[in-house]
Symmetry: C2
Subunit: 409 residues, 2 copies
């Protein structure tokens, strides 16, 4: 059996994702699609719109056969560690290839850029340092250094968000000497960060979330599969709302008020006097957006500050994020189709990384972070829902989806 791996967040699953699943499977001539999906907190430092369980259902009903969780320690990081964690999991799951959507669409551009930068590694590194010193943000410095180093020799535009992620996937696979093959397909029209809903059937997740949080009159049915639409309403019904930073801001402020300056400094991503800036700004902000605007500088991107906020909300310390291995030490199974289950049975014996079906069956410091993230994510639920959610997280086996009957077992 051939498997193709994809790296996803599904926040929420939309028609563009459906296209990505279908095209990846076709391009890789794969029998099953395996998605490594971020849990409840995402790479841009945001809580997911709906829980990982709901998003796992979206994935399964959208054609994915096996959904595994990208641990918190990778999922909330910048592209490099994010990619390392994700690719290592797909490699451990014996995927023949992984396939990502990119603005570029040509895999040789990625390998070309990788080789070009490897050749000029020192020049590249010192250029990055130079731009950082000038006060540019980290992603901006990377992109400027890349332009300066690679020049016109390569065709990959590393200022585009999906090209950046893709570049890091390819780099991770090469760095880990993985046997998994990189593939890419062109992303269809919608830009990653687009905020407005377009006319066609594919919109960015950003614009879809914006519509969901608007007054409720916006109709997203044009942009998402029927299953996503049903799962979203089901979620709102059961959990009495969706999640965004605004729903967690009161907890963030509470957390800050219980931490000393020294403890704030120990939070991951709190650097260079940011602990003072946090204390000086948070108490006068009435919402998260207002607070971000008070925190924002040229040096710190919105994403960087959101990631910091995520670690603050979960009280994740530098100490806890030290020594995170490049390759994931476990794989947590969230859901599978019959086909996914058959694939897993076939490869399980030859796997070297443990697959976790139940939280109680495995212990690892990194898994403690995942548990914590789950509990923190549930903090905004009404208490009765929170109790049942906690029970689900700890006691429910992975979701089993029957694609023929469209039911869960």
């Amino acid at each position: 059996m051939r498997a193709v791996g994809i790296v996803v967040e599904y926040n929420p699953f939309h028609n563009g994702h459906l296209y990505h699943v279908t095209e990846s499977k076709r391009a890789a001539k794969a029998d099953v699609v395996i998605a490594v999906m971020s849990g409840n907190f995402l790479q841009r430092g945001e809580p997911a719109l709906v829980s990982k369980w709901n998003r796992t259902k979206m994935a399964l009903e959208g054609g994915v056969d096996l959904v595994v969780e990208l641990p918190y320690a990778y999922a909330t990081q910048k592209a490099e560690s994010f990619a390392n964690g994700a690719i290592s999991i797909l490699e451990a799951l014996k995927c023949t290839s992984f396939c990502f959507g990119s603005e570029n669409g040509d895999i040789s551009s990625f390998t070309g850029a990788l080789n070009a930068l490897k050749k000029h590694q020192q020049e590249y590194d010192s250029a990055i340092k130079g731009f950082l010193k000038e006060g540019f943000s980290y992603p901006k410095s990377l992109s400027l250094a890349y332009k300066e180093t690679a020049g016109t020799a390569v065709s990959l535009d590393l200022s585009k968000p999906n090209n950046i992620l893709g570049y890091h996937y390819v780099k991770a696979a090469a760095g880990q000497e993985a046997s998994i093959e990189p593939q890419t397909i062109v992303r269809t029209s919608a830009g990653y960060h687009d905020e407005e809903l377009p006319d066609c059937s594919i919109a960015s997740a950003t614009s879809i979330r914006k519509a969901i949080f608007s007054d409720g009159s916006s109709d997203i049915s044009q942009y998402v599969p029927k299953s996503t639409e049903a799962l979203l309403s089901e979620y709102r019904e059961e959990f009495r709302g969706y999640h965004n930073w605004e729903s967690y801001f009161h907890l963030l402020k509470y957390m800050v008020s219980t931490l000393s300056q020294e403890e704030l400094r120990q939070i991951y991503e709190v650097e260079e006097g940011l602990e003072n800036r946090i204390n000086q700004t948070i108490y006068s902000a009435e919402n998260f957006h207002e607070w971000m605007n008070k925190m924002k500088t040229k040096r710190y991107t919105w994403t960087r500050l959101q990631r910091l906020s995520t670690h603050l909300l979960t009280k994740t310390t530098k100490q806890q994020m030290k020594n995170i291995p490049e390759k994931a030490p476990y794989i947590r199974l969230l859901g599978m189709s019959k086909e996914g289950q058959a694939y897993l049975s076939a490869i399980k014996k030859s796997m070297t990384v443990p697959v976790i079906s139940k939280l109680s069956a495995f212990q690892h410091p990194m898994l403690e972070l995942d548990k914590k993230a789950g509990n923190v994510y549930a903090s905004i639920f009404p208490e009765d829902v929170r109790v049942s959610m906690h029970h689900q997280e700890y006691s429910t086996p992975p979701l089993r989806y029957n694609r023929v009957s469209s039911t869960y077992e």
Copy 2:
């Protein structure tokens, strides 16, 4: 000018308190009444019904001339430390006497009990240890040891809550070699812990709070001064509700979910494996009351567990509560009448403990705990209210009340 000191919580201020203020002033032949009042968290380990600012107004409008805050480090402790902090403040404020309400009502019973126990200190101490070993709670062990040691020689019943507090006030004054004189008056009818509203005009604060949190049909006007009634409605209007443990339970659970076992163990009052018990019980509880019932054992009283919860909510560690001085190192002024202001001016030069009018003007590790408690208390307000509350806490001078015109300046 003669001042009488009283130790209060005013949760909320009721007719019994009014009687206490008036009678204390009369008994002490005092010109002014000084109240040392717990801040936002109280001795039984509960958040106050309304903020300390609102309760300061109740006190001023009820006849108190100077309201100062009992620091968090004393206010949330068992009787001994609570009394030490409170009496040291009244002594520092040059009160001629302090006057407490008690079930007993005769001050010689208190000094008699104190002397009797001093004589048999060793016997008393080892009796306490013995009862603790048998698994009795701390207060129960004290009371049993007292009975065993003092026997019928003294007339003070130390199983009554106000006698216990009074005993510790008298003990604190003696221990600190204070010049302040102890006085007591008999508490009128209502029992400290009574839960039902009685027929007369005096009800326990417990029963009044119970009525306030009931369906709203209960009328408390018979039991509180008109000013209290007005201040309570004003508070509910402005802050959109009252405070009790149920309003903070979601934060408590959130806090627990962000702390490691080791960090839980470092919380003040978390002892002897209680960290496991907390983790094992809190996630399946839908409310605070349910959780307390899961936590409760013979060894740990409800009050003890509520205090632990308070320290957990404010993330107050053993380290932070180490080395709390017996005598308060500062006095935070919350409010005063013209008479109180005149008294303070008269004694200020001869005072040895700093009086704080503005939070920014003084620094002390214990004051950090007070600030933290204030911020945590405000965590359940809507964000706009929370911002203005924070501003008040940090930037507003003490309340100045004009008793003649019944206005604030």
